[in-house]
């Protein structure tokens, strides 16, 4: 899992399939955020889930948060070739800084 490890580190799927990746964290968080990085580009904010939320949706994205297990998951439904990227979770605790995980590289094959 992320926050040191990512689960999985890499994922290869066919277009139209769903992609699920997991993230674990260690501290008490204010929120957890997911970002995407396309090759050679910057980090794009995808979704933020607060510590008192359990699930959140944004388009084809679904994020869950389990604070008892200190884990989160990101599900991309009906994947497209354009979803090929690295995905990172980042925890935001008491301060403002983000603590990132190692990322999951997702390859969506057309």
């Amino acid at each position: 899992s992320q926050q040191g490890e990512e689960d999985p580190q890499a994922l290869s799927i066919q277009e139209g399939e769903n992609a699920t990746m997991n993230c674990s964290y260690k501290t008490s968080i204010n929120n957890l955020q997911w970002y995407r990085q396309n090759s050679g580009r910057g980090l794009v904010h995808l979704i933020l889930i607060r510590s008192n939320e359990r699930e959140k949706h944004s388009g084809r994205l679904r994020v869950t948060l389990d604070t008892s297990k200190k884990s989160s998951s990101l599900l991309i439904t009906a994947s497209r070739a354009a979803d090929t990227a690295s995905y990172f979770c980042a925890e935001q605790a008491a301060g403002n800084k983000l603590t990132f995980g190692g990322g999951t590289r997702v390859l969506v094959k057309p």
């Binding site: 955020q33 580009r41 910057g42 904010h45 933020l48 301060g95 403002n96 800084k97 190692g102 990322g103």
Partner: protein
């Protein structure tokens, strides 16, 4: 609105040289952050400015790194002298709110290669 701009996008320098990276945050964003990702590792926090003040510089790896944000607008990150292990992608981000739930806008990063 314009996004966070970083310059240069790529830089290749020799070990021992100096490099200065620049970040222009979104206008009006008081918070500016620097992060970096060295090869194969996680994205790590370097420091956080609130306007022109360093709020948190706990992630700065050593005194070869100097960050400034004169006037509370753009920021520079200078590496002097650069070492091989400094190679990686340096990201800048800005945000508007100081506390609570807020999202960051990241720049495209500067890819630094030290040879």
């Amino acid at each position: 609105e314009a996004g966070v701009t970083q310059f240069p996008s790529h830089s290749v320098i020799e070990k021992g040289q100096t490099v200065t990276l620049r970040c222009d945050p979104i206008s009006g964003h008081d918070n500016l952050y620097w992060y970096r990702r060295v090869m194969g590792k996680e994205i790590k926090f370097l420091l956080h400015f609130v306007k022109e003040s360093k709020q948190d510089e706990s992630g700065m790896p050593n005194n070869r790194f100097l960050a400034e944000r004169t006037g509370g607008t753009y920021s520079t990150l200078k590496v002097q002298p650069a070492e091989l292990e400094d190679s990686g992608v340096y990201f800048c981000a800005s945000s508007q709110h100081t506390t609570g739930q807020h999202r960051y806008t990241f720049g495209s990063g500067t890819r630094l290669t030290v040879v």
